[in-house]
């Protein structure tokens, strides 16, 4: 999953700590989400979308490679 979190944060001129405080999570969570190491829950994704006034799919979008992989089940 890729996201535009870092770009949006830069547009708002917020530090990771400021964004984390607004979202009610830790700075590590924001950092891990920005770098794509952690995929936030749906609840947190909605919070992020609401904070930036955008739809979830405008911020988060899956890797094309990931989508083309067959379902392991």
């Amino acid at each position: 999953m890729k996201n535009r979190l870092r770009v949006l944060r830069a547009e708002y001129n917020w530090t990771q700590a400021e964004l984390a405080e607004r979202l009610g999570v830790s700075r590590q969570t924001v950092n891990a989400a920005e770098t794509g190491k952690y995929e936030p829950s749906l609840g947190l994704a909605f919070k992020i979308a609401r904070l930036f006034g955008q739809r979830i799919e405008e911020i988060f979008h899956p890797d094309e490679q990931e989508l083309s992989k067959p379902d392991p089940r």
Partner: protein, 132 residues
């Protein structure tokens, strides 16, 4: 500033149950190793740290509930490492006990519990490496 101070205070307060349990455990151990007590009294002393552990457990549970989703996941992954390793340790020691004579001075329960903490903190370190 006030908020930061209250967070710091909460962090320090969360250490208290750990300290209390440690104190009770080591005090009970010292008493059992040194004093010549009646067997029933020994059992009472040995069980004395349990209520303090209940306090510790409640504190850990409330600590986990107050964490954000990434921190919870990291702790879950640490447990996923520590629990099977603990199981492996106990089962291996059980088998070894059947194969050879293990000295209770080195391999009794009171000597192996620090390994469980080591597994957990090792698991935490591994999990954090994934997300940092």
């Amino acid at each position: 500033m006030k908020r930061l101070r209250s967070i710091r205070l909460r962090e320090w307060a969360s250490i208290l149950p750990f300290v209390a349990f440690g104190l009770f455990y080591f005090a009970a151990r010292a008493v059992l190793e040194a004093a010549n007590l009646d067997t029933r009294l020994k059992v009472v002393v040995a069980l004395l740290p349990i209520p303090v552990f209940a306090w510790l457990l409640v504190s850990i549970m409330s600590g986990i509930r107050s964490m954000d989703e990434l921190h919870r996941r990291v702790h879950l992954e640490a447990l996923a490492v520590a629990f099977p390793l603990t199981l492996l340790l106990l089962m291996t020691l059980g088998l070894l006990e059947l194969a050879i004579e293990l000295s209770p001075d080195d391999w009794s329960y009171r000597h192996i519990w620090p390994m469980v903490w080591a597994f957990y903190f090792g698991g935490l370190a591994l999990a954090w490496r994934r997300y940092e």
